[in-house]
C-alpha cells in the first residue's frame, strides 16, 4: 500500500496536501510533488486536499497513471522535503481550469 502523486500535479504544484501530511513525506522539484513511500503512512489525509485530484492510493489508481508509482518512489528520496505550503507554479490556475476543476 502506498499513496502516489500523479500527472495532474504537473505544472500546478498547489501544495495544499503538504499542510496536512502528518509525516512530511512530500518532496518537490520544479514541476510537481512526489511522495516518499518509505515515509508515507497511508493516512490518505492529502487525497481530498488536492484541488486537481492528483493523489491516489495504489489500489485505486487509474491504469494510465500506474507509472507514477515507480516515479514517486525513485524521485522523492533525493529531492528536498516540502512540508509548508508554497506558491503554486505560474499558470497553475489556468491548468486547473483546463483539467476541469
Amino acid at each position: 500500500m502506498t499513496t502516489i502523486v500523479t500527472d495532474n500535479c504537473k505544472s500546478c504544484r498547489f501544495t495544499d496536501c503538504v499542510t496536512v501530511c502528518p509525516v512530511a513525506c512530500f518532496h518537490y522539484d520544479d514541476e510537481m510533488l512526489y511522495i516518499d513511500p518509505d515515509v508515507c503512512i497511508d493516512c490518505s489525509a492529502c487525497i481530498p486536499e488536492c484541488p486537481v485530484q492528483a493523489i491516489f492510493e495504489d489500489d485505486d489508481i487509474p491504469k494510465d497513471q500506474e507509472k507514477w508509482i515507480a516515479i514517486n518512489a525513485e524521485k522523492a528520496p533525493d529531492l528536498p522535503v516540502c512540508d509548508e505550503q508554497m506558491d503554486p507554479l505560474p499558470g497553475a490556475e489556468e491548468r486547473k481550469t483546463e483539467l476541469g476543476f
Binding site: 500500500m1 499542510t19 496536512v20 501530511c21 502528518p22 509525516v23 512530511a24 503512512i41 497511508d42 493516512c43 490518505s44 489525509a45 492529502c46 487525497i47 481530498p48 485530484q53 492510493e57 489500489d59 485505486d60 476541469g100 476543476f101
Partner: protein, 463 residues
C-alpha cells in the same frame, strides 16, 4: 531583560496534551526562528494520545507517525512532563506563572449522546470506550463488554464506527499479531457476535467513511460486507452530490457499497462467511428497550430533505425493532472542561479565534488551543498539523504582548511543586524505557508490543 525569544530569554510554552496536535504545536514552535523552550504535559505516563489509544491496532502503518514524534522529542528545546494532570496535579494559574503561553491540545475525551430513552441501559456503550479498551488505555482497562450476543449494532458511519465494526468482524488470527491489548483479544476470542449492523442517519451518498476504511470490509477473512441493493436508491439531490467532481470520495464510497450489494446476492449460501457486517442507511435509533439490560433497539426510518450537500434526515414515522444486546454509539466526540479555562458547553470545545482562547469574545492572554479541543472532532491525524501550525502562527504574532517583562522559569518551577504534591512525573527518556519494555513483552507473541494497561505497571518499569 533580554528580548523575549532571544537566547537568554527563550519563549517558554506549556503544551497540555501530548497527542498529535501537541506534538505538531511543539514542532512548529521549535522550527520557528525564535528561541523557545517547550514543556509538554501529559496526564498518562504514555504520550501520543489517540495515535496510541485511538488508531486501530490493525492499522500499524498509521502509528508510524510516532517515528516523527520521537524525532521531535529528541530536540533540545522539547521536554515531556508525563503522568501529570493539569487542573488537578498542577493548576492552570500555576502554568500561567511558569510559562509565557499555554497551548491546550487535550482533545475531545467525551462522547456526544444520542439523547434517547434507554441510552444508559447496560449493553449500550460508546465507541470511544470500546476503542480505548481494546487499545489498552488505563482509564478503560476495567470495562466489560458483553459480547455474548449474536447481534451488535453500531450507530454512526464515520471511521470510528468502521474501526469498531472491523474489530468485531475480525477473527482472532487477524488480530493476534497486532498491538491489541491482551485482555481485549481474550474477550474477543469468546465473542458470539455474528451479525453487525452499522446504521447511518443519512443515505449511502452521505456516509463519512474514508474509501480506504470501507474497502477493508471487502477483505476480511471470515466476515462478509452486506448491503441491500434497495438501500442504494438515491434521491435527486444525492445523485447531484455524487455527480459533483469534487465529491469523488463519496462517489468511491457509494461504488463500494454497490460492490458489496452485488456480492451478497451472488454465490451459493454455503460459501458464506461466519460473520456479516450490514451497512444500513436512513435510520435513527429512537429508543433502547430492555428491563435491566438492552434487549432491542427501536429504529425509525428517515427521509432526506434539502438541497445537495445540505440534506438533513428527518423521521418518517415508520418504525421497527431490532433485537440486540449490545450497541455502540459513534456519533461524535466532545471535549471536557479544565478548571480555569473558558469552555463552550454546547460545542464541547474551548472557544477561540484562530487558536487564541476567548471568553465573551475577548481573547484570554496566554491561552491558546489546537486540535479537536479547538475545532471539534473532525479530520484525521494530519489535519491537526495544519491546525497546530495555524495556532502557533497566532501565538508568535502575539510575542510582544506575551512579553510582560516578568521572568518565566518554565518546568524548573513546576518540578518542586509536583514533588511537594507527591506526583511522580516522568520525562521522555523514562517513557522510552516503558516503551522498550512493551516491545520486549510483545516479542514472544509476535506482537509489535504488549501494552501496559495499568498506570502502576508502567511506573514500576522505572523503579
Amino acid at each position: 531583560m533580554a528580548q523575549l525569544g532571544s537566547e537568554n530569554n527563550p519563549l517558554r510554552v506549556a503544551i497540555v496534551g501530548s497527542g498529535p496536535s501537541g506534538f505538531y504545536a511543539a514542532e512548529a514552535l521549535i522550527k520557528s526562528d525564535i528561541n523557545v523552550k517547550v514543556d509538554v504535559l501529559e496526564r498518562l505516563p504514555s504520550p501520543f494520545g489517540l495515535v496510541r489509544s485511538g488508531v486501530a491496532p490493525d492499522h500499524p502503518k498509521l502509528k508510524q507517525a510516532i517515528l516523527l514524534y520521537d524525532k521531535i522529542a529528541q530536540s533540545p528545546e522539547f521536554n515531556l512532563i508525563a503522568n501529570v494532570t493539569v487542573g488537578k496535579d498542577i493548576s492552570v494559574d500555576e502554568l500561567r506563572g511558569s510559562h509565557h503561553a499555554i497551548i491546550f491540545t487535550c482533545g475531545a475525551e467525551s462522547d456526544r449522546k444520542l439523547g434517547i430513552p434507554g441510552e444508559d441501559l447496560a449493553g449500550s456503550y460508546t465507541a470511544t470506550e470500546f476503542v480505548a479498551w481494546y487499545n489498552g488505555h488505563p482509564d478503560y482497562r476495567q470495562r466489560q463488554f458483553d459480547l455474548s450476543n449474536e447481534v451488535a449494532v453500531i450507530i454512526g458511519q464515520g471511521n470510528v464506527a468502521a474501526d469498531v465494526a472491523r474489530i468485531l468482524s475480525k477473527t482472532v488470527d487477524e488480530l493476534k499479531h497486532t498491538d491489541i491489548a491482551e485482555h481485549a483479544l481474550d474477550a474477543l476470542a469468546e465473542s458470539k457476535i455474528r451479525e453487525i449492523y452499522v446504521i447511518g442517519r443519512r443515505g449511502p451518498a452521505q456516509a463519512k467513511f474514508t474509501p480506504k476504511e470501507l474497502r477493508e470490509f471487502g477483505e476480511l477473512e471470515d466476515c462478509d460486507a452486506v448491503v441491500d441493493s434497495s438501500e442504494l436508491e438515491l434521491n435527486e439531490a444525492s445523485i447531484k452530490e455524487l455527480g459533483e467532481k469534487s465529491n469523488i470520495g463519496s462517489k468511491k464510497i457509494y461504488d463500494l457499497f454497490q460492490k458489496y450489494s452485488g456480492l451478497a446476492t451472488s454465490g451459493p449460501s454455503s460459501s458464506r462467511k461466519a460473520r456479516r457486517c450490514h451497512f444500513q442507511f436512513l435510520r435513527s435509533p429512537v429508543e433502547l428497550v430492555g428491563d435491566s439490560k438492552l434487549e432491542r433497539v427501536k429504529i425509525e426510518y428517515n427521509q432526506l430533505s434539502g438541497d445537495p450537500f445540505k440534506q438533513s434526515a428527518r423521521g418518517s414515522g415508520e418504525f421497527y425493532e431490532l433485537e440486540t444486546g449490545i450497541l455502540f454509539r459513534s456519533i461524535g466526540y466532545r471535549g471536557v472542561p479544565i478548571e480555569g479555562v473558558p469552555f463552550h458547553d454546547s460545542w464541547g470545545v474551548f472557544p477561540n479565534e484562530d487558536g487564541r482562547i476567548t471568553e465573551n469574545d475577548e481573547t484570554v492572554p496566554q491561552f491558546y488551543t489546537a486540535g479537536w479541543i479547538k475545532r471539534g472532532p473532525s479530520g484525521i491525524i494530519g489535519t491537526n498539523r495544519a491546525c497546530s501550525v495555524a495556532t502557533v502562527a497566532s501565538l508568535l504574532a502575539d510575542l510582544d504582548a506575551l512579553d510582560t517583562g516578568e521572568e518565566k522559569t518554565g518546568a524548573e518551577i513546576l518540578y518542586p511543586l509536583l514533588d511537594s504534591r507527591n506526583v511522580r512525573y516522568l520525562n521522555f527518556q523514562e517513557w522510552k524505557k516503558i516503551d522498550l519494555k512493551e516491545v520486549e513483552r510483545g516479542e514472544p507473541k509476535g506482537k509489535p508490543r504488549e501494552k501496559f494497561t495499568f498506570v502502576d505497571e508502567m511506573m514500576s518499569v522505572l523503579d
